[in-house]
């Protein structure tokens, strides 16, 4: 028995090591070497119309932009999606992807973690309420109201200042947040203006936008900190596609207007 247990102990340790080593081969994406010709990008797949499921495939504005970039920098696009939005930056830092083309607002906080390209579209946080709501006409009316907002989004802090931390309800997906608006669990939802309007138009949700956008958000594509080579390549690709009209063509596909905002 003593010998048996010793053999088992060794085989347990050896087995775990073998497993750990063997599984390394299965890793996908993430390689930042430009030589392997892959452009691994990621998005949440739950942010219609930027990235969403259509008949089993993730499509949208962000996907089209990412594919266009890949083509222009001469790499094969490899999409990682759906990835929950709040794990995207973590995953980029861990080297799982080359870039996040996932509608990240450029903020000082995020810029400490990753490097951003030039803005690739502009939008802003918009207050949405249930149709027929009379007591909310603008941001000043939100004090003390239950406010729905996307987890790990730039709107979280903004929402907290408007209503107080305790009144926040956080969601994994904007669409679920807007849906919950119609149940009355939240009094208002702050989400991207474009996302909200598309959701309302497509789903027939009984919601409406109140007031102007609360601030102008610039959305950037994120790469790993210090990856200046890829950053420059993507920036060049963006400039080129804006200059030759490809950007506008992609934007028209999803919004019937250019959302570059310049």
């Amino acid at each position: 028995m003593k010998r048996l247990s010793r053999i088992l102990l060794f085989s347990a340790l050896a087995g775990m090591m073998a497993l750990a080593v063997g599984c390394g081969d299965g890793a996908t994406g993430g390689n930042t070497d430009a030589e392997d010709e892959e452009f691994a990008f990621a998005n949440s797949g739950a942010y219609k119309p930027f990235s969403f499921d259509e008949g089993g495939a993730i499509v949208g504005f962000d996907v089209d932009i990412a594919n266009e970039i890949a083509e222009r920098i001469g790499r094969t696009p490899v999409m990682n999606s759906p990835v929950p939005f709040d794990t995207l930056i973590q995953g980029l830092k861990a080297g799982k992807y080359d870039a996040l083309v996932a509608s990240h607002g450029i903020t000082a906080e995020r810029e400490e973690q990753v490097d951003f390209t030039r803005p690739y579209y502009r939008s802003g946080p918009q207050i949405f309420v249930q149709t027929g709501t009379t007591d909310i006409a603008g941001p000043d009316d939100l004090d003390g109201k239950k406010l729905g907002v996307l987890k790990a989004s730039t709107y979280l802090d903004l929402a907290a200042t408007l209503t107080g931390e305790g009144n926040l309800v956080t969601y994994d997906s904007d669409v679920v947040a807007l849906q919950d608006l119609t149940t009355g669990r939240v009094d208002a939802v702050i989400t991207d203006k474009l996302v909200g309007l598309v959701a309302r138009n497509e789903s027939g949700l009984e919601i409406e936008a109140v007031g102007d956008v609360l601030m102008a958000d610039e959305m950037g594509i994120a790469v790993q900190e210090g990856n200046s080579e890829l950053l420059a390549e993507i920036n060049q690709a963006l400039e080129d596609m804006i200059a030759d009209g490809t950007y506008e063509e992609i934007s028209m596909r999803w919004f019937d207007e250019s959302i570059l905002g310049e």
Partner: protein
Amino acid sequence: MAFVTVIQEHFWGFLKATGMTLQLTAVSLVLAVVIGLIFAFLKISDNRAGILIANGYIGITRGFPLIVQLMFLYFGISEIILLSSFWAGSLALAFHAGGYVAEIFRGAIQNVDRGQTEAARSLGMSRGKAMRLIILPQAFRRAIPPLGNQFIIGLKDSSLVAYLGVPDLYSNAMTAAAANYQPFETYLVAGMYYLVLVVIFTRVVNKLETRLTPHRQEAAR
């Protein structure tokens, strides 16, 4: 009615995702049984280091929430080794279930009457042989019902890997709900897929149990 539409519209998506869920569950449970057996033996061995390691392992895997183990394997050790989301998920599920499986096996082995070992030994069998030929077959039979239970839990636990971006059933429900604006119906459909899998699984386990238990086999006839 919206419910039926969701089933129809997302049929292929959910079917593909079911394949992923089954793959994850199968890989993780096979690994969990191997891991569980190894640590069960370590724990009942008379090797003090082995017992210490087994207790440490079981304590950690049963003590940490599964989501923490998932995040650790996927993000926490990415500096050392870059696991794909599938393997990070499968391994975390396996490590997690392995702790429980180890305890199931240990309990089953220790539950076999001491007299069995003594009788086998008195017939001249070595300890290893007695374990292999006399104790383990009986222990395995006893382990089937709690193992089946653990497997069902493992199947449903696998839904957490959606947070690593593995395109499993739950992840499919998340994206589908975000696209069709019908979260209630969509999650209900996902739940039904899990339910069907669990029912099928329960039947298989019951069959296996009957087959391995002679007197119940009689009763079943």
